[in-house]
């Protein structure tokens, strides 16, 4: 699905990613954990194509294509989805309109016929139920006046609508109470299939109680310094990140 080789990136001349290597196959869930400032969100942003970051080295292969060569909108149309840590408000643009515009682009890109209004509405109903999103919210302006939990649910709703190949969840658990966390995680789990993959970026282990990863990677100082299975996450929860820092810094 995605193969990241020695990826390096900087912002304002400061190197944040110092050679990331990661392979994610279809059907897999990978968790990326790490202390604050380790480069987790930067990795998510660089993969999505945010212009603030400059890629200074390495390659990323996305389903046989050179990801780094694509514009951000192309990456999205090819099936890369980023659930934002801080979803953005767009006043006056209804969620429905926004998603319709996005789906039209994705369909056009794949040479599919545009979704009919009827099919679109049916899909909205089906997918909003999946994340228990109030149907009123689908008609409101994108994220405007949404609570923190509603915003995150809306991200997963959009993901469900767009059916990406690779979903990157950037700190999706931040700011969620336990009920909202469960709902969001349920949504993600229901969307899992043999054909898609998920990268969960998180600081805490608790999200991984609900979205169970196949692999856990620890990011520190711009590099993946440790990889393992879900037990690694539990170990981190118990001991904190300091022992990893010590191991690496020695």
């Amino acid at each position: 699905m995605i193969s990241i080789n020695d990826l390096k990136a900087e912002i304002d001349g400061k190197e944040i990613l110092r050679g990331i290597n990661l392979d994610v196959k279809a059907g897999e869930v990978h968790a990326i954990m790490g202390p604050n400032g380790s480069g987790k969100s930067t990795l998510a942003s660089v993969l999505a194509g945010r212009e603030d970051y400059e890629v200074t080295g390495g390659t990323v292969d996305f389903d046989g294509e050179d990801l780094l060569d694509m514009d951000p909108e192309e990456r999205a149309r090819e099936g890369l989805f980023l659930a934002f840590q801080y979803p953005v408000e767009i006043p006056g643009v209804s969620n429905m309109n926004f998603l319709k515009a996005a789906l039209e682009e994705v369909h056009a890109h794949k040479n599919l016929d545009p979704l009919s209004a009827k099919d679109f509405l049916a899909r909205v109903r089906e997918k909003s139920a999946l994340v228990e999103l109030d149907s009123k919210l689908t008609n409101r302006s994108v994220n405007e006046g949404f609570s923190g939990g509603e915003k995150k649910r809306n991200e997963i709703f959009q993901m469900a609508m767009l059916e990406p190949k690779l979903a990157i969840l950037d700190e999706t658990d931040s700011g969620l109470d336990i009920d909202a966390l469960r709902i969001v995680a349920n949504g993600v789990n229901k969307l899992k299939s043999e054909k898609n993959a998920t990268i969960v970026v998180t600081h805490y282990q608790r999200l991984l109680d609900y979205i169970v990863p196949d692999y856990v990677h620890v990011l520190y100082n711009g590099r993946i310094v440790k990889s393992g299975t879900k037990e690694l996450a539990l170990e981190l929860e118990e001991k904190g990140y300091d022992w990893i820092k010590q191991e690496v810094d020695v």
């Binding site: 909108e73 934002f84 926004f98």
Partner: protein, 481 residues
């Protein structure tokens, strides 16, 4: 079978295309310059009654004593008023009787915007009057409207056919001495539109006028007069376009609305005069005086989407004279490149329980300057007057400017006046969010801007709303920085 009128039309249609109707359109122009003789010539060409000539000459006399206003937040070289043609009429005027025969270039423009005139014509809800340069060329649906007693025709025709109505109302809302450009217009106006809705009649279709400046070196000075008699209703649309030219052209119009007791006038404008090129060369100077008066229980709504013109100076206003009358102003003004706009409204509360609403949305891109200027005045007899004003500005670039100049004058202590203002910059975050969902930058900007302007766009009649949305997108192409 003889040679029918239809055959004639067909023949003429072919001919006009043959001779290149658009680019080489021949016109009947008065010599450059402005003096009493030119005014007499215009009046004579139009076969006007003596009182109208008097009106013009009085205005001209007064205009000569006036100086061009400089208080607006705009900078431009002052036009040389002696270097303009004050009268230009397309020569084939008489032959153009069907909208199908009008300027293919304009129709191309309309097509690009998704509203061909043909389509407009077919939409049974819209009647169109079309003013090119100085002369009104065609009005559709006249007969249909006449059955209801509605008069909708060119201003010149109204002067000939309904002189008593024109004489009674013309200049009563915007006096010929009102301001520099209104005085100039009153002296040299050449055509425009006239509309009268009789007592108790609800006009069943949108009435629409398209203004177009075609000739080089001409000014366009049109007048619109809309009279809604007691208890009547009309929705009026106005569209404006001009070809691209290197020099600046002057457009100084006057619009007067009169809403008698219990009447309602909804006046919508989509202004797309040529704004000049990306270096600020050329474009229309749009200096327009628009004002309406409301009698008892009457209502006037101005809705405007302003994307064109190099310089705009325009304040569609309401005089709320009658008790319980209502005035509304909804505006979206977009400026890009080197455009400058100073626009807003005046709400003059005179009657008791009068109510006004102002929603203004400015969008500045490129190196443009966009100003809202508005006056809310509550006179001492206007007990319980209410006003709500909201002025928002959206900046697309660091090099553009947004300014708000609200003036509030209150002489009655029972008045309630609220003013809200915000300025925001279009977020790179918002654009990236759209990109990440597969929406490209141009569409993203269009979505964001249309969302921002939605409150105003929603006030436009359906056909116009679609045009306006596309216009906003076109005006802002590649404008984020």
């Amino acid at each position: 079978m003889g040679y029918t009128e239809e055959d004639l039309k067909e023949d003429l249609k072919g001919k006009e295309y043959e001779f290149g109707f658009v680019t080489e359109i021949e016109s009947d122009k008065a010599p450059k310059g402005l003096n009493e003789d030119i005014i007499r010539l215009i009046s004579e060409k139009k076969n006007e009654p003596e009182w109208l000539l008097e009106f013009r000459l009085n205005a001209f006399e007064h205009w000569q004593t006036m100086t061009e206003p400089e208080w607006a937040h705009v900078k431009y070289p002052k036009p040389d008023f002696q270097d303009l043609h004050y009268y230009a009429a397309p020569k084939q005027k008489k032959q153009v009787e069907s909208l199908d025969e009008i300027d293919p270039e304009l129709r191309k423009t309309m097509d690009k915007l998704g509203i061909s005139i043909e389509e407009q014509k077919r939409l049974s809800g819209v009647a169109v009057d079309f003013v090119m340069d100085s002369v009104s060329v065609a009005t559709s649906f006249k007969d249909k409207l006449a059955e209801l007693g509605i008069i909708f025709c060119s201003f010149s025709e109204a002067v000939q056919e309904h002189p008593e109505l024109v004489r009674k109302h013309m200049g009563t809302v915007v006096p010929s001495t009102d301001n520099f450009y209104a005085a100039l217009n009153s002296a040299v106006f050449t055509d425009g539109s006239f509309c009268y809705i009789p007592k108790g009649v609800k006009c069943p279709m949108e009435l629409s006028t398209y203004f177009r400046i075609n000739e080089a070196n001409t000014g366009q000075f049109e007048r619109t007069l809309v009279v809604a008699d007691e208890g009547s209703y009309v929705s009026y649309l106005e569209g404006c376009t001009a070809p691209m030219r290197d020099e600046n052209q002057l457009h100084a119009a006057v619009v007067e609305l009169i809403a008698l007791d219990d009447a309602e006038i909804k006046y919508s404008t989509v202004q797309n005069w040529y704004p000049g090129d990306e270096n600020g060369k050329g474009g229309i100077y749009n200096f327009v005086t628009k004002r309406g008066i409301c009698e008892r229980n009457a209502k006037i709504s101005w809705t405007q989407v302003e994307t064109g013109s190099a310089v705009t100076w325009k304040y569609p206003s309401c005089i709320l004279k009658g008790d319980n009358s209502v005035g509304e102003f909804y505006s979206v003004a977009v400026t890009n490149n080197y455009q400058q706009a100073d626009t807003g409204t005046k709400m003059i509360h005179i009657g008791k329980n009068t109510n006004s609403t102002i929603i203004s949305k400015g969008i500045s891109a490129g190196k443009s300057q966009n100003s809202y200027r508005g006056l809310v005045k509550i006179n001492k007899n206007a007990a319980n007057a209410r006003n709500f004003s909201q002025c928002d500005s959206l900046l697309m670039t660091d090099t553009s400017g947004a300014h708000t100049f609200p003036y509030i004058e209150i002489e009655n202590s029972t008045a309630k006046v609220e003013h809200e203002a915000t300025t925001s910059k279009i977020g790179e975050d918002q654009i990236f969010y759209c990109l990440q969902r597969g929406i490209d930058e141009e569409k993203a900007i269009s979505l964001i801007v249309n969302g921002y302007a939605k409150e105003v766009l929603n006030k436009l009649p359906m056909e116009f709303a679609v045009e306006a949305q596309k216009l906003l997108a076109i005006s802002l192409e590649g404008s984020v920085g």
